[in-house]
């Protein structure tokens, strides 16, 4: 039984355990057919959660106070500008994507400059700046829903053997990110800064450069997510990023990454994303009303943190 006790100690195990039990309940209630369908939907929606959560995870790993609250605004702005530029023309797909990337790079740089020069906590810096990004999106969007080029929409929902292509792409990206985190100088620097910023500085790590790259990366992931989400959901809408703020933080933490920083886990991100989606689906399957659904969702998030909380301790 040693493997069980070893497994229980892995930080990502709770998220996956939760995801699997949710799926078992759904399948138990509505049969295998529904179980297969919900799994496919979970893969689709979970993929978007994972994309933003990867960036948020690197940010949170930098240590206490590091959270990027500008993710929803960044997603909205990137999707709005890119969709508007392409205006449904498939020929403009590549420049559209580049615009989206550009938005991410610009927002990441702005966030970092605010943190660096104003010396304010990243939470406040990204929060205040996100108001500006959101306003820019509102101003350029004017409440319209600009349709994405058909190719983009098709790609975002395309499936191979029941598995969305986007999911496969993001899986590969996740593996790449795991390599980046555990095997490269940048990744190890992020972990070191999160564990002890002073020690990291004394060891010769250029802390501000690491922070810059991390916030840049987070914004780029958010903008790319916004780009594909707009394709997936038939256009950019002003509230499209709304739930991704809570979701990105919840997924990171439930996935076993330490909120205190210094310890990150990519395997858990997938488990937690699937768990969050399946949890909501399960509550729908059980036919609960909106109010109870919210209560149970919140209670389960808190319960997961309490149960798995000992390792998160500051």
């Amino acid at each position: 039984m040693t493997w069980v006790s070893q497994l229980v100690q892995k930080p990502w195990v709770w998220a996956w355990f939760g995801a699997v039990s949710m799926w078992v309940i759904i399948t138990g209630v509505s049969g295998f057919g529904a179980g297969g369908q919900v799994m496919s939907a979970a893969a689709s929606f979970g993929t978007f959660f994972v994309i933003v959560a990867i960036g948020q995870m690197f940010v949170i790993t930098l240590g206490p106070g590091n959270v990027d609250l500008s993710i929803p605004a960044c997603m909205t702005l990137s999707a709005t500008l890119a969709m508007k530029f392409m205006n449904g023309d498939p020929g403009l797909l590549v420049p559209g994507f580049l615009i989206s990337l550009g938005v991410g790079l610009a927002i990441g740089t702005t966030n970092f400059l605010l943190i660096l020069f104003l010396r304010i906590p990243p939470i406040i810096a990204t929060l205040s700046a996100s108001f500006l990004y959101q306003s820019t999106a509102i101003w350029s969007n004017r409440g319209l829903r600009v349709k994405p080029p058909e190719v983009l929409g098709d790609f975002a929902v395309a499936k191979v053997a029941g598995v969305p292509i986007l999911t496969l792409v993001v899986l590969v990206v996740t593996v790449g990110m795991a390599f980046l985190l555990h095997r490269t100088r940048f990744g190890l620097s992020v972990l070191a800064v999160g564990q002890n910023e002073k020690a990291a500085k004394l060891a010769g790590i250029r802390v501000e450069r690491v922070r810059f790259l991390t916030y840049l990366m987070c914004a780029v992931f958010a903008s790319v997510c916004g780009f594909f989400l707009a394709g997936f959901s038939g256009g950019a809408a002003l509230n499209m990023g709304e739930q991704y703020l809570l979701m990105s933080i919840a997924v990171v933490v439930i996935g076993g990454t330490s909120v205190a920083g210094g310890y990150a886990n990519l395997t858990g991100l997938w488990g937690a994303s699937l768990f969050m989606f399946l949890l909501v689906s399960m509550l729908n399957t059980l036919g609960l009303s909106a109010g109870y659904r919210l209560i149970v969702t919140g209670a389960i998030i808190v319960a997961v943190i309490v149960v798995s909380g000992r390792k998160l301790a500051r």
Binding site: G65, V67, L114, F117, L118, R119, I120, P121, I123, I124, L127, S128, A129, S130, F131, L132, Y133, Q134, S135, T136, I138, W139, R142, L246, I249, A250, V253, V259, A260, S289, A290, G291, Y292, R293, L294, I295, V296, T297, G298, A299, I300, I301, V302, I305, V306, G309, R310, L312, A313, R314
Partner: protein, 312 residues
Amino acid sequence: MARFLTPKALRTLLPALSLAALLAAIFYLQPRTMSYFGLNLLLNLAVPIALATIAQMFILCVNDLDLSLGAFVSLTACITATWLNDTPLLGVLALAACVVAYGALGALIHLRNLPSIVVTLGMSFVWTGIAVLILPTPGGSAPEWIRTLMTLKPSLVPFPIIASVVIALVVHIGLMRSAAGTVLRGVGGNPKSVERAGWSLLRVKVTMFSLAGLFGVFSGMALVGLTTSADANIALRYTLLSIAGGILGGGEFVGGRVSPVGAVIGAITLALAGSFLSFLRLNPDWQIGAQGAILILVLALRLLVSSRERRI
């Protein structure tokens, strides 16, 4: 004169100066606001925001952050507009239960050493869920006495100003000037030393979270007194407003450095920012953005002041 304008004094004065500058700009743009009636209209909605900011300040003071405050205020607003109005006893019990729940949350966060950001994030779902159950569609009505209180028209000074001053002073005396308040703030500064000195950290956390809950309840009640009805999402933006207000008012994220007077001023500044922008005839699209810009501007000014502080 120069002796009083030390950087430290400037830092304390900065929130008030920003508010004064904003008010001056508003008066300049729209002289009619410089009347009893104008000020009343201008500042009305600042009262619930100020109460919510004070609530957030209690949490900031023990180095935590409450991301569920907006949802919580919405819930208390819903309870106020329904139960407290129809069956006052049930309403009072429910609101008291809300305060107790906040205290219990503080205990949970302390005992299990949990990250407050995530716990409150989860709780925000719970609060919204309960609010939806209580009031599935926007509606309800404000209890008569709250309505009367919030629409009071005292002679000379408009009610929102009196209310803000009273809130700021009561909390200032309780938290900054009393012995108990010093212990409470000490936990934000150095928890270990407070514990060594024989105080229970658990009790401090529970007290602070309960106080936050209490002021959250007040905020919801005040809001319903103004809007006369409620819905489950009525105050969701208070989460960010309260954090921003607390920071604008000179609070810090760590170290128990907070300022109740500053928090109230910060909240009023944010509430006025909206009016200022509409007087500027600024495109409504830029309203939120300009609030962000004001926030960044004030923080930049503060940095300027504190860098002078360091040089001296």
